[in-house]
Amino acid sequence: MHNLAKSFITISAVALVGGCATQSKTASVDIPKLGKPISEQTVSLWNIDVRTKDGLGLPGGSGTVAQGKVVYEKQCASCHGPDAKGGPVYGTMVGGIGSMTKNPRVLTPGSMYPYAAILFDYTRRAMPMNAPQSMTNDEVYAVTAYIYNLNGLVPADAVVDSKYLAAMKMPNRDGFITDTRPDVKAERCMSNCKPINTKL
């Protein structure tokens, strides 16, 4: 379909310029260029992503654990519960470090995230759920500090900023592998096969 559409357009373009005998195989002559050139400044308010491995993209600003507790109680506690231990809507955000070989694994920012800046990136882009992207960078740093403090990963007197998050070594840093599939090699057995796990 793609190639068909392209060749149709190529043929039309060739016809327009007066029956040139060789049909261009490149798309460049056929396709309009309608993008409006912009600068990175134009997109600065959208440019909220953080490369969490090294903190590239973390903004200026900072926050303390104590400030974070205030932010948390105002913005987060109604869903996530007091002290981030779980509330009416979501489960705990504290604990679980060392649970990755257990069942269930307890998944929290402390136990699961390989890089500390993930919590900043996610909170800034998506939280609080009823007013995302409404908090200041200082507030996001502060609430990040508070959650990591509850997980025992940040001391109570810490001032958390971009350098601090980039330097933190998370417990699950080495907990990830990239896709190894196909990891299952089933056979196309047709008779005398091992039954599927059913009660029959």
């Binding site: 379909m1 559409a5 056929d30 396709i31 309009p32 309608l34 993008g35 409006k36 050139p37 912009i38 600068s39 990175e40 134009t42 997109v43 959208w46 440019n47 909220i48 992503d49 953080v50 490369r51 969490t52 809507v89 979501y90 990755m100 070989t101 069942n103 269930p104 998944l107 699961m112 995230y113 890089y115 993930i118 996610y122 882009r125 998506a126 759920m129 995302p132 907990g175 990830f176 592998i177 990239t178 896709d179 190894t180 599939r181 990891d183 299952v184 090699k185 089933a186 196309r188 057995c189 047709m190 008779s191 005398n192 096969c193 039954p195 599927i196 796990n197 059913t198 009660k199 029959l200």
Partner: protein, 443 residues
């Protein structure tokens, strides 16, 4: 004819109608069957009424349908056609197994047993949102390419719709499809077990066209796609895939996307887990490495037996499921036609086999054309059921030679703990001697 005779005649018609219905329909979905029976009985009633009026109708004659004898409803000046009121049960449904305590980050599922072709009607394409469905005016929507490019670019919707478009048939499946049914048969119907699966003809602009226009720097190896919704949902995608077959899509099945499916613009990544096809897309930023954000570390990753997590498991591996007969239906002895869907994120469907004895023996099903790359493909298999209990299932082999595994095969190499993605296991349905079909996925 006296009144008693007339009554007797009308009862005969009713009986004949019921008998005919049971003869013609060896498979029925309970609620639907009841509705159909109700309609047949209503026609029978109409027949007897017609007979009374004409005075000479034969008991064996089909009645003249009421619709032949009246004007239809008027043609409105303008309209958007909706399904028949008799199809009111065909709806997307949220899972009844895993109940979220909010209505914004959740999912609803496609009624696969009622999907009769290889595309899903737009109003039934499954949903997965991370913070509800945004309301975006296409006149105001902007799409931006920036980061490691020669020239950052901004596009309006009207700009994008002026580019040469392509239309492709592809399935889309959520990586979480089947997550409630790894180890026990929690879901009752195929909508609940497999309904995070849909297919459509997707229309849009190849991402490569726009990346070419912006000019990729040689360091650009990954793109971060980000949505304009309340979760700003984002995923890192390797540049090879963006250049290969990724589309910026504005239409499905011939019309602009529905709001819940990304209106006015979404990414579409053929064959890969649904959440990388970022809806309501506002930008692609080019970088030299993946971002490792929450949705590719703490979410959408697969637990492994050694305590680790596998990430960037993008391709949806080959899978198939019998949609009829399936959980919640009833069958009766006689010829039964098995129907279902097969698909692969790595290519085309090569063969589909079915088993009637819980996987001990398999026979090849008929695969229905068209068989397209990374698309839903239908299969059929007829057999005569003698009324003995049985367990039926399907198994696909795709064009790479990959054979759909059982849960047992998968649990040997992965950990099934908690909220586990990428369940492409064979789905068994049990049929009791009374014809009742139930989920038999006892992993």
């Amino acid at each position: 004819m006296n009144n008693a005779d007339k009554l007797k005649q009308s009862q005969t018609v009713v009986k004949a109608a019921s008998k005919e219905l049971s003869a013609n329909s060896s498979i029925s979905h309970n609620p639907k069957r009841r509705a159909l029976l109700g309609r047949t009985l209503a026609y029978a009633g109409a027949a007897s009424a017609a007979g009374l009026g004409a005075g000479n109708a034969l008991a064996q004659s089909l009645p003249i349908p009421e619709s032949n004898r009246t004007m239809g409803r008027t043609i409105p000046p303008e309209d958007y056609g909706m399904p028949s009121k008799y199809e009111g049960k065909v709806k997307r449904r949220r899972t009844d197994v895993f109940v979220n305590r909010q209505n914004f980050s959740d999912w609803s599922m496609t009624p696969l047993a009622q999907q009769l072709g290889t595309v899903t009607p737009n109003g039934l394409i499954f949903e997965r949102h991370h913070n509800g469905i945004p309301d975006i005016n296409p006149d105001h929507h902007k799409f931006v390419i920036h980061g490691l490019v020669h020239q950052p670019l901004e596009f309006s919707m009207s700009d994008l719709m002026k580019y040469p478009s392509v239309s492709k048939f592809h399935f889309m499946e959520c990586s979480g499809n089947g997550l409630t049914d790894w180890l026990k048969p929690s879901s009752k119907t195929v909508q609940q077990t497999h309904g995070l699966l849909s297919a459509a003809q997707w229309t849009g602009v190849p991402v490569s066209t726009l990346l070419d226009e912006a000019g990729l720097l040689k360091e650009a190896k990954w793109g971060l796609a980000e949505g304009a919704d309340g979760s700003a949902h984002a995923r890192s995608i390797p540049i090879q895939k963006l250049l290969d077959d990724a589309l910026l899509v504005y239409a499905s099945n011939g019309e602009m996307l529905r709001p819940e499916n990304g209106y006015p613009l979404r990414l579409f990544i053929p064959g890969w887990e649904g959440n990388v096809s970022v809806k309501w897309i506002r930008r692609i930023k080019l970088g030299d490495e993946p971002w490792h954000i929450r949705s590719e570390t703490a979410r959408y990753t697969d637990p492994m037996p050694d305590g680790k997590w596998r990430q960037f498991s993008m391709e949806m591996e080959a899978k198939s499921v019998v949609t009829s007969p399936s959980g919640g239906m009833n069958i009766r002895p006689g010829i039964v036609e098995i129907q279902g869907f097969a698909w692969s994120g790595n290519g085309k469907v090569r063969t589909v086999d079915v088993t009637l004895d819980g996987g001990r023996t398999w026979r090849e099903a008929r695969v229905e054309e068209p068989v397209l790359d990374k698309s839903l493909t239908r299969f059929r298999y007829e057999f005569k059921w003698d009324g003995s209990p049985m367990s039926i299932a399907s198994r696909v082999v795709d064009s790479t030679g990959y054979v759909q595994p059982t849960v047992d095969d998968i649990t040997k190499v992965r950990a099934i703990v908690g909220f586990v993605q990428h369940n492409n296991a064979i789905q068994p349905w049990a049929v009791s001697s009374s014809g009742e079909v139930t989920n038999a996925q006892f992993g």
